[in-house]
């Protein structure tokens, strides 16, 4: 019941266009963007921040469905290796220069190749072998093989101005010199660690910007963010801690807004190695890796009381998960139910696999990367102990955790995945596809799960341009992986925003905090 409610709140779409009020908005961010250069660092806070100033060809709405951005129409031409995009004609950059196909070609050239970028956008653009400028407002992308996700990929790329950004470095963007986009707000100032200021752009092609100015302030301490909201210094805060939500909901001066995110919290299992580092017999002697047996993996999944984790650990602010994305996303299977809590069945499965006496394992998780991550893992460990698997928990600081996880140091680990593309091929490809680093499959498959049947369905889906067919292929691939328990989904995160009274926030599944998603209530 609760999940329906949350979904409903996340799926509110239409809002009456309110008249522009002469007002400034101050927004507190939980983590600091590292630059205002839109191509320097592919990181959620950066992408969200730069989305005000720059726009992609195709936008993702609050549910990550695609909608026209700087392109009005797009699609595959008769040649499946060529995509054509029609560009909007009435668009000008903040300095008044008109937006044309030249800017698109320039962007595609610069985005994957920013000096010193710790995480570049090349993975979304690599498929494009040639950009063809047909006329000022038509552009074609040529690829080596069919790329059905072209539109999703390009929705992550902010279009910059060739005139202002040619040869520009990240510092030129940070100083504002090259930070000239087409978005509803224009750059005003950037002081690292302190604030980013933006002003409304009068010449914006879309709806008139709601706010005169936006100020973003990074406030990493959650209690400081909440205090800022309560004292009236801050209008909108993101990532309200779950244990503050109840008291804030009773406070008349603030409002709480929640929406489901695209982030699944899951348990990855080493289902590959013959002997896995942290699993032994109860007497400590070495045993063959039990997680290679899908019955054991299934037992671990059925032993999890997801309802209780959501209600008790997450204080109701999460949704139990049975697959990789919540319902409503592209590629999700309608036939997968959230696994019910069946400890007896789990014990039977363990016995069938020859582990009636259980075994001993240490499970790992990050300390403070996801909402209540340590507590979730503690709860899961207790549930596994109840079916006879002696489980110990070790949580590790984030700066060390992910590196060690990628080095396959763990047998069982808690991780989260947000599907940036907003559809199911993203988690399937990264988490469950057989590890083939050079081809970009299984990049984050830290359990080295491998299933040929799923691989071939996924690979077929990735070159299938027909949407209905691709949806079915992805759903089927998901069903196979979930039936085989390639990993154990636990819950979907629900994100919480707080606003002062008189404002509303339209929750976004991609976890972005945008000034354009804040509206006055009326």
């Amino acid at each position: 019941m609760r999940s329906r409610l949350l979904m409903a709140s996340a799926f509110v779409v239409s809002f009456a266009a309110a008249p522009a009020a002469a007002e400034d908005l101050t927004i507190a961010l939980a983590s600091e963007p590292t630059s205002v250069d839109p191509h320097y660092h592919n990181l959620t806070p950066n992408n969200a921040l730069t989305r005000h100033i720059f726009e992609p060809l195709i936008k993702q709405d609050e549910n990550q469905s695609l909608e026209p951005g700087l392109a009005t129409e797009w699609g595959v031409t008769d040649d499946p290796l060529v995509w054509e995009f029609k560009l909007r004609e009435d668009v000008t950059f903040h300095d008044g220069t008109p937006f044309t196909a030249e800017d698109v070609a320039f962007t595609i050239e610069r985005a994957p190749d920013v000096p010193n970028s710790p995480s570049s956008f090349s993975l979304y653009i690599n498929d494009i072998s040639e950009v063809e400028i047909v006329d000022d407002h038509t552009v074609r992308f040529h690829t080596e093989e069919p790329v059905p996700l072209m539109a999703n990929n390009l929705s992550t790329i902010a279009i910059i101005s060739k005139k202002n950004a040619e040869g520009a470095s990240t510092e030129d963007f940070n100083s504002g010199e090259a930070t000239v986009g087409t978005g509803p707000y224009q750059f005003a100032s950037y002081t690292p660690g302190e604030e980013v200021e933006m002003e409304a752009y009068d010449g914006y092609w879309g709806d008139e910007p709601q706010w005169d100015s936006l100020t973003f302030r990074p406030i990493t301490s959650a209690s400081a963010r909440v205090a800022g909201l309560l004292s009236g210094d801050i209008d909108v805060v993101e990532a309200v801690p779950t244990n503050d939500v109840a008291s804030l909901e009773e406070n008349e001066d603030v409002s709480i807004w929640q929406g489901i995110s695209n982030r699944v919290i899951y348990i990855h299992l080493d289902s590959d190695r013959e002997v896995t580092p942290q699993i032994t017999a109860k007497d400590g002697s070495e045993i063959e890796n039990p997680l290679r047996d899908s019955r054991v993996r299934k037992a671990l999944s059925l032993a999890l009381d997801r309802e209780s984790i959501v209600e008790d650990v997450m204080e109701g602010i999460a949704i139990p998960a049975g697959q990789l994305l919540p319902e409503g996303f592209f590629g999700v299977s309608e036939d997968i139910e959230v696994p019910e809590y069946q400890p007896e069945r789990a014990k039977e499965l363990l016995a069938e696999a020859g582990y009636e006496d259980g075994f001993k394992m240490t499970v790992h998780g990050p300390a403070g990367r996801y909402i209540n991550d340590e507590q979730v893992l503690q709860a899961a460990a207790q549930m596994w102990s109840r079916i006879g698997i002696e489980t110990e928990v070790e949580t590790i600081p984030v700066s060390v955790y992910f590196g060690r996880a990628s080095d396959l140091e763990f047998s069982v680990m808690l991780v989260g995945w947000g599907a940036g593309s907003g559809e199911a091929s993203s988690p399937l490809r990264a988490l469950l596809a057989t590890y083939e680093p050079d081809a970009g499959f299984g990049a984050t498959n830290r359990g080295r799960y491998s299933n040929e049947e799923m691989d071939s369905l996924l690979k077929e889906a990735l070159v299938t341009v027909d949407n209905d067919k691709r949806q079915d292929l992805l759903a089927e691939a998901t069903e196979i992986a979930m039936e085989d328990v390639g990993l154990i989904p636990v819950h979907f995160q629900v994100n919480t925003w707080g606003t002062r009274d008189g404002l509303k926030y339209i929750p976004r599944t991609d976890e972005y905090t945008l000034g354009t998603s804040v509206r006055p209530t009326d």
Binding site: T34, N116, S120, T220, S221
Partner: protein, 325 residues
Amino acid sequence: MTVFIIRRLLQSFFVLVAMTVIVFVAVYAIGNPVDILIAPDATQAERTAAIARLGLDQPLHQQYISFVGNLLQGDVGRSFVFNVPAFTLVLSRLPATLELALFALSLSILIGIPLGLWAGLKPQSIAGHSIMVGSIFGFSLPNFWQGLMLILLFAVLLGWLPSGGRGEPGEFLGMQSTLFSLDGWSHLILPSINLALFKTALIIRLTRASVLEAIQLDFVKFARAKGLREGRIVGVHILKVIMIPVITIIGLEFGTLIAFAVVTETVFAWPGIGKLIIDSIFVLDRPVIVSYLIVIVLTFITINLIVDVLYSVFDPRVRLQDLGA
């Protein structure tokens, strides 16, 4: 004195070298920043490319040698995270921390020394006892909790002061600082009280103990016997004697105020170097960590030097020379 200073600087140089080696090895041992910074769905090729872009594909000793080479040309490297020169980044955050530390230090001296004198001169009075009890709170209440309570009281409930952040800087004699604007002061008050509470308690206790000791000394008795005014005895003779330990502690504490204002800066979202270093450690941003430590080591060295010179001013018996020399 010159020999003393040269020797000091030489020692400091070795401290700096040792520090960079330790940081290099430690950060290298913790992990690879690219694992934290890169998008999780990046391919192996993209990951390798990012590692190469940051120069992390080289063996550690190679990285260290090129670091030293660049350092000799005055370049500490660019932040892995922000892609700006790391030293500039640290220096750009330093004024905010210095403002906070100076303000907090002034507060703790202006409150701590008079209260400590009072408590030392009148140890049995009610005021003397109250001051000592109060100082226990200053010591024992956790810093972050004090900060949150200050915010709750003055920002949320009373609404007198902003809950965090730094104010608009003002200009005075061509210098930009939030110390020169009203908005700046309003933002400074809460975090500096938070930072000053512990130091104030420390100075109160230290001053009181020194006064109790000094008051027994012969020259004080002599001064009294000579019929000097109480004000002069306290203000000149006692104060001069107790200043030696107090200055030592203030000097050391000023260093720690700058270096460890982390908690206060986090609670009040104060954009200083304490917050920067914590964020940088979380993402293993080595160039920033090294630059920060260079700045901090230099600060400590300078402060200690100033403290030593001040000793000789307050106590002519102190000669600035190495005992071993």
